[in-house]
């Protein structure tokens, strides 16, 4: 237990010498608070040996001023009345530590967010500032000299999500020599990018640029890939996370399988009967399958819901026959778990495409010719359900195609935000469809959002290929009379000022991007937040886009907000860099505002044990004991202890009472 403050020369009557600084913050504070008056009022407070006002306390001269005063006037406590501690408490603590006194002999008063920014009346705002400063001055006399605790950072990293974001982050970290666990829910890494045919604006083949990275990941000695896996529990704190990972059974021994795929041919099912997930139901697969040919790991899996052996126990198991020399098939496999310790986590769980069935007026699921953009990606893909030929569900080749933008985006009835990538991918699909079919293509758009590098040029190229651009959103899709199989798209061609009715064979719905459906559950596991459309929330939209409010947990890719591949890769690199910065710093300093138990006063009633949200309290020898490394200083146990045996650094009883008395002194 920390000892009471050592008495220094003080003011001659035993109380410490206090310096008060009142900041103008430009006009942020000074336009509503009479800073000079506040400074004068502080001068006469008991224990205050000097008080100053200054335009920008956080600036270098401001900080130097404090350090000089400590030296020249023997200051023992410092109070700064300025902005929120969130911004500059660290700054000033460091400054006074440089000046030679314990950094926790400091109290910050927020007269900006709590005063000048929320009030208008100058007299009242100044009086409030005076009260707050008085409270701080009274309190700071009782501060104790504390020490920040250092905790080492575990250099291992967990990356959740094996799409392009997770892959790039993992490779960056692994190349820097760090050990990475790459946890992916699906049977293969690759994410949505593996489903695309060509990517905008370069029309690079997605697989050609992705699979080399996937192979690098597979071969990298520093990366452990866990597919068919989920994170189920995370304990601990930055630098010291304990993560529990669940592995769902493939019923295949990963180390034994060489990906020859003969078991699939040999399966008693002569043809696939189950809608193929990777091809979005446009083709069928067998119970034993591999999601796509370039899957990593190159290992098949068995679907227990459709495999006869699982359902009846009476299958010939021709798959096992054909795998005789490897013996890779194991029907007895069960769920397994792994617990790993990592210092930081990168969440890269990606997005979910908007479900077009939510807007029945567009005919998805009702009319054969209506497809979502992702389905069309699979159609144009050479390894897709139609081997890259554009053939509709009823076997026809389309002569007229309509692409409708903003399905599930820019719409208060579904998602208000713009999904950012749809204009570009719609142009890309127009280009690819026209290349393969020579169809007349109509793009129905509201605005053309082509802001990235090379994007405007791409749009011009597609326009020059003769795609019809109609500025007007289609409201609904209905079948053409006479059984032609075509559907009619009606929209206002607002640039021409007329309504147009265009029968088409194929409709492509440019569906937007949404957060994964389990985002709320995942965020709870990692103690981060969802905001702005349900995507994971970054610490600051401009200045901290890859970190979260939970230290050590970083975000990358579409799970934070809709974005394209260039931005995803950039963000993944940034997240890896920030994790590396943390790791290379080697340690983290914990704020010493932790709770502690006064053993003599603890009655062992165990009230506090279950209350701690961070599981920091245990019972040792009949008394409560708090682990200062896990304690976050929330104060719950302090308030709950019936004996008053738990106290908190920086929030001792006297400190709090003095602050209250200071605020109420004018009453």
């Amino acid at each position: 237990m920390p000892e009471p403050a050592a008495r220094t020369s003080g003011n001659g009557n035993g109380t410490p010498r206090i310096g008060v600084y009142v900041c103008h913050c430009g006009t942020n504070i000074a336009s509503t608070i009479d800073v000079a008056a506040a400074q004068r009022a502080a001068e006469s407070l008991p224990g205050v040996v000097l008080s100053r006002e200054y335009k920008y306390m956080c600036s270098d001269p401001g900080q130097e001023m404090i350090k000089d005063d400590i030296r020249d006037h023997g200051l023992e406590r410092v109070v700064v009345a300025s902005c929120s501690p969130c911004l500059h408490e660290e700054t000033f603590r460091t400054a006074i530590a440089d000046g030679g006194i314990n950094p926790y002999f400091f109290q910050m008063v927020n007269i900006r967010e709590h005063d000048s920014w929320v009030h208008k009346d100058m007299a009242a705002a100044t009086a409030k500032a005076n009260d707050l400063i008085r409270a701080a001055v009274r309190r700071v006399r009782f501060h104790q000299p504390l020490e920040a605790r250092r905790v080492p950072i575990d250099p291992k990293v967990l990356v959740l999500g094996g799409g392009i974001a997770g892959i790039h982050a993992a490779l960056t970290l692994a190349n820097a020599g760090k050990q990475v666990y790459l946890v992916e829910r699906e049977p293969s890494i690759g994410g949505h990018m593996a489903m695309f045919d060509k990517t905008f604006p370069t029309l690079d083949c997605a697989a050609c640029i992705l699979t080399p990275k996937m192979t690098q990941v597979r071969n990298h000695p520093n990366i452990t890939i866990w597919t068919m896996s989920d994170v189920v529990e995370v304990d601990g704190f930055v630098g010291n996370y304990k993560v529990k990972v669940k592995h769902r059974p493939r019923y295949i021994l990963e180390e034994a399988c060489v990906g020859c795929l003969e078991c699939i041919d040999a399966c008693v099912f002569r043809r696939g009967k189950t809608p193929d997930e990777f091809n979005l139901g446009l083709s069928k697969r067998k119970p034993i399958y591999i999601p796509f040919p370039q899957a990593v790991p190159q290992v098949v899996l068995i679907d227990p819901d459709t495999c006869i052996e699982f359902r009846t126990g009476k299958c010939k198991k021709t798959c096992i026959e054909v795998c005789a020399d490897r013996n890779a098939i194991d029907f007895t496999q069960t769920e397994t778990f792994d617990e790993v310790e990592v210092g930081s986590i990168v969440v890269a769980t990606g997005f979910k495409a908007f479900d077009a069935g939510r807007l029945p007026q567009y005919g998805y699921g009702r009319y054969d010719g209506v497809y979502t953009a992702l389905e069309v990606e699979r159609l144009v893909n050479a390894s897709g359900p139609t081997e890259g030929k554009i053939v509709l569900r009823d076997g026809r080749e389309p002569e007229r195609i309509g692409i409708i933008h903003c399905i599930g985006s820019r719409d208060k009835n579904t998602n208000v935000y713009c999904s950012r990538v749809c204009c570009m991918y719609s142009l890309k699909l127009a280009h690819l469809l026209q290349e393969k079919t020579n169809a007349e293509i109509y793009e129905f758009y509201i605005d053309m959002r082509t802001a990235g590098k090379g994007f405007e040029e791409f749009m011009l190229r597609v326009k020059s290929e003769g795609v019809h651009m109609i500025r007007g959103k289609v409201s609904d899709v209905y079948p053409e009379a006479g059984g032609t199989g075509r559907v009619v798209l009606q929209a206002e061609d607002s640039l021409a000022g007329m309504v147009r009715k265009i029968p088409v064979d194929m409709v492509v719905l440019a569906t937007g991007l949404e957060p994964q459906p389990d985002a709320e559950d995942v965020r709870r596991i990692f103690n981060i937040t969802c905001a702005g459309g349900g995507f994971f929330m970054e610490r600051h939209p401009k200045l901290a886009p890859v970190s979260t409010f939970t230290d050590g947990v970083f975000l990358a890719g579409a799970c934070q907000a809709p974005k394209d591949i260039p931005d995803t890769v950039a963000q993944a690199g940034a997240a890896a860099a920030e994790a590396l910065a943390l790791i290379d710093h080697g340690y983290i300093e914990l704020e010493p505002n932790t709770a502690y138990v006064v053993a003599e006063e603890c009655s062992g009633c165990k009230t506090c044990l279950g209350l701690c949200p961070f599981s920091a309290i245990t019972r040792v020898d009949g008394k409560a004991q708090i682990n200062p490394v896990l304690c976050k200083g929330c104060g719950t146990c302090v308030a709950a202890c019936p004996s008053g045996a738990i106290k908190q650094n920086l929030f001792e009883d006297e400190e709090i009472y003095e602050e209250i008395m200071g605020v109420l002194a004018h009453v």
Partner: protein, 197 residues
């Protein structure tokens, strides 16, 4: 050959009308129209209008009241609510159309002898007097006011209706029609525009 210049100056704008219009729905909602055109696209009457609801929104927000109130757009609206349901900014377009109709009638800016205006006036006249509307007299009134010749083509329908007993020649009315009339007059004096919802 003379040309009609399509240029407007700021003097052509009516700021009071623009303010009134954008306040119609409250919460600056009408300013959020992104001009996607789905209202015009979904409107069954749009191809007959001078211009669709999307263009009307823009003209009205800019204060070009003469264009807006003098067009046939608002009069062709049948309140089918397709636009309201489709609008991605959830703007109640149909209710906006009603407000414009009222303003046009009140301000005398509705096109003269427009059949829709005549119908509305005939309808309200009947209901005000008797509490109910009788179709035969509504149509007759409409024909007389808008030009009987237009309705010669409707003779077949008229005869069919009489033949099958679907036309009542008795003025339908309610018992307490005076009370209703007093009620309608009382609220008219209440005055003030009630916010469109």
């Amino acid at each position: 050959m003379a040309t009609e210049p399509m240029i407007r100056t700021e003097a052509d704008r009516d700021p009071e009308f623009a303010d009134w219009f954008t306040d119609l729905v409250g919460e600056e909602k009408l300013r959020e129209c992104i001009h996607c055109g789905i209202c015009t696209g979904s409107c069954p009457l749009a191809s007959h209008m001078d211009f669709g609801p999307r263009k009307l929104m823009h003209l009205a927000r800019q204060g070009f009241s003469a264009d807006v109130l003098g067009s046939n757009t608002i009069w062709l609206c049948t309140s089918c609510y397709a636009c309201t349901v489709a609008c991605p900014e959830q703007i109640p377009v149909t209710d906006v159309m009603y407000a414009l109709k009222r303003r046009a009638i009140e301000g005398g800016q509705a096109p003269r002898k427009h059949p829709v205006v005549n119908l509305a006036k005939g309808f309200t006249g009947q209901v005000h007097r008797r509490g109910r509307m009788t179709e035969a007299y509504l149509i007759a009134g409409l024909a007389l006011r808008s030009g009987v010749l237009r309705y010669v083509g409707m003779a077949g329908v008229g005869w069919n209706s009489v033949r099958t007993g679907r036309i009542s020649l008795l003025h339908d009315q309610i018992e307490r029609k005076e009370e209703l009339r007093n009620l309608l007059d009382a609220v008219e004096q209440h005055g003030g525009e009630v916010a469109v919802r």
